[in-house]
Symmetry: none
DNA sequence: AATGAATGAGTCTTCATTCAT
DNA sequence: CATGAATGAAGACTCATTCAT
């Protein structure tokens, strides 16, 4: 195994470990054991405990950037994109699976803790995270702009507000799930999607056909 | 100074301290110094470090419950309520001031960390937090139901979805602020509010013309 | 209740407490709670924690002195005295009951620990304890001397050795009981008594005499 | 220095330390200093303070088992064995020297405290200790049985009682020494031995061979 | 006579980090 | 490359004792 591969492996495993274990409360002994190496080995590849954590979080950010920005489909019909997005649980699972990290990393609750711990230690990560959100919102705005052009949604749509609304709602829904331990977004996500859609869509024809009773 | 007063004081000060300092990383030495007492005094009133933290978080939850549930105005016009709510920054500041805790407790970024740290340590707090969110959404739903009756908003409004949407958006906006360190919600909050309102409001007269330019 | 009475009560209760609880491991808080008073009250009557312990142990020594020395029957037939003594368990129980302290103080295991802890802290107690053993052995020797006079036991009996033998055996039997948690002395005590008696008694008649000068 | 050697060394030195210092009152600082290592080093080899103590006491029990059970001479004339045993002080010293532990471990006073402290903390040690006593008594009983066969002692000897008598006396003599700080057993031990012997021996013949000058 | 709040020195324990091998 | 023994600073917690009331 090439040296670099070893380091890569360690980062990947460490990320999985940190996803399910609180960084502050994990001793290097625990970590080393979980990674199947000795403490010395870790110090061989990383400057210190923080360095390993930093590398792990960055690996996670790479993945999220790939998923939410680079891999964001931009030539898909807006309605379809939104429908997909608002099946929040499926989207998260899909992302987790495609990432190749275990399911521990998929669980938003874990990611939440991971990010907050990381941001507290490494404020410079804020910038990377910000880029990801900005990128995501940009992609969404692009698709909406196209939808306006195509006459799918109203011309007077406040695109910036709506992308922000969607992004914030997304995060908030996951956060509420973390707080309350109930995934209400599974049921309510699509209904919120419908509500938002009705707010921007151009009515097919006459009148509003009572989208819900 | 009465014993009870002392304990109360300690809880209050500890809450302020924990709002700006990470619980795990704060040594009892730091805490004691910040509270202006000796370690021994803390152990006189609290079983251990966790106990003090638990009491502090509960005090915060009391406050939030009072603000977001008990003090929630229920006979206010919906539009007015939403306008108020979506001036997120002002609402948070107002709540902070009314609480009597310092501004450290007002800052949502701090509360975020506080809650996540607390939930990790004391899973039973999840229930209290859940009650608060449920209470808040219930109050919101009540006002919306009345607005429906009064013909202010559409009869086919998916009240449950919209209240969830608002709550999650609220949390998400604050969380994004925490992540990115930018309070976009100051500008975008009201615009999102307008978008949501247009989605549920009954058009003043014929056709939906240019609710926003 | 007179002040002195209070102090007396405290000493008595403390003795019972120390009989079942290790002194070193008992905090003054525990002790105060067990005695049903506050720490302050203890400091009112005793100089410090050690002082209370010292008083308690002395009270126990008073009791033992009364039982093993002062109340030792000296005009009883030797055989009867020995028979009584070697029913070790009954003797200990009887002593405990007569003492008025609870049964915790009766249990030799507890006394053992108490003495060792006390001797370690207060070496001067050794003298008192020594006096008690000396007194006991003296009383025993007196009875044996009389038995020699009366022709009950052999004239060449090494009285000093036999009293020492009995005393040491007694302590040793109790100590073994403490170590092994089995009261073998209940069964074996009387048999040892018989063996010792046969060693000193004058054979009723012919028998094998003159094996000793 | 090999790892195992280091741990062994620590156990051995700790035993010597605990022999002369009360476990409860010894801080890990004291212990570490006495062993010539840092506290951290101790925690490297032992789970905690108790663990080190436990290992030390077990090492002592190993030694005692070796001495009092395994190394007990079984084909020696009973009289000689008893004579040896009842020179208590010499026996204890010999054992101490042969053990290789320092003289602190030899002193029965110390062993006493050690055992009681250990039994209080680790009740399971009682079993080991019990085995040692049982083994010792068994060996003694074997030798006595042979002596009966060879016509050296009386057939009606209550072997079980006598071995118990000897064992308990042994312990008791040492305990009295601990309590009173006087080694009376140096003088009285042999005299008690003579008394016991006269109780079981078969008179050689008519003559009085002066067991005592 | 009695309280109990408050202290601070001391306890056991953890852990990131270093370093000789 | 990798080990794991060893360190030492820092952590949470205990408790005998004091003192104002």
């Amino acid at each position: 195994m090439q040296p670099n591969d070893t380091k890569e492996q360690l980062v990947k495993q460490a990320l999985q470990f940190f996803a399910s274990n609180d960084y502050e409360r994990s001793s290097l002994n625990d970590i080393a054991e979980a990674l199947g190496v000795t403490k010395g080995a870790i110090y061989h590849y990383f400057k210190n405990k923080d360095d390993l954590f930093y590398a792990s979080v960055n690996r996670l950010l790479d993945m999220m950037e790939g998923w939410f920005v680079d891999a964001m489909p931009r030539d898909i019909p807006l309605k379809k994109l939104l429908d997909n997005l608002f099946r929040i649980d499926e989207t998260m699972t899909e992302m987790g699976e495609s990432s190749g990290f275990g399911e521990a990393v998929t669980d938003y609750k874990n990611i939440m803790y991971l990010f907050l711990a990381a941001l507290k230690k490494f404020p410079d990560l804020r910038e990377r995270l910000d880029d990801i959100y900005t990128g995501f919102r940009g992609a969404l705005a692009d698709v909406m702009a196209k939808a306006v052009e195509k006459g799918k949604i109203r011309k007077d749509t406040d695109i910036e507000a709506v992308t922000y609304e969607i992004t914030a709602f997304y995060e908030g829904a996951l956060l509420l799930g973390t707080f309350t331990n109930r995934k209400e977004y599974i049921v309510l996500g699509p209904r919120v999607c419908a509500a938002i859609w009705s707010q921007i869509a151009i009515p097919a024809s006459g009148g509003h056909k009572g989208r819900k009773k």
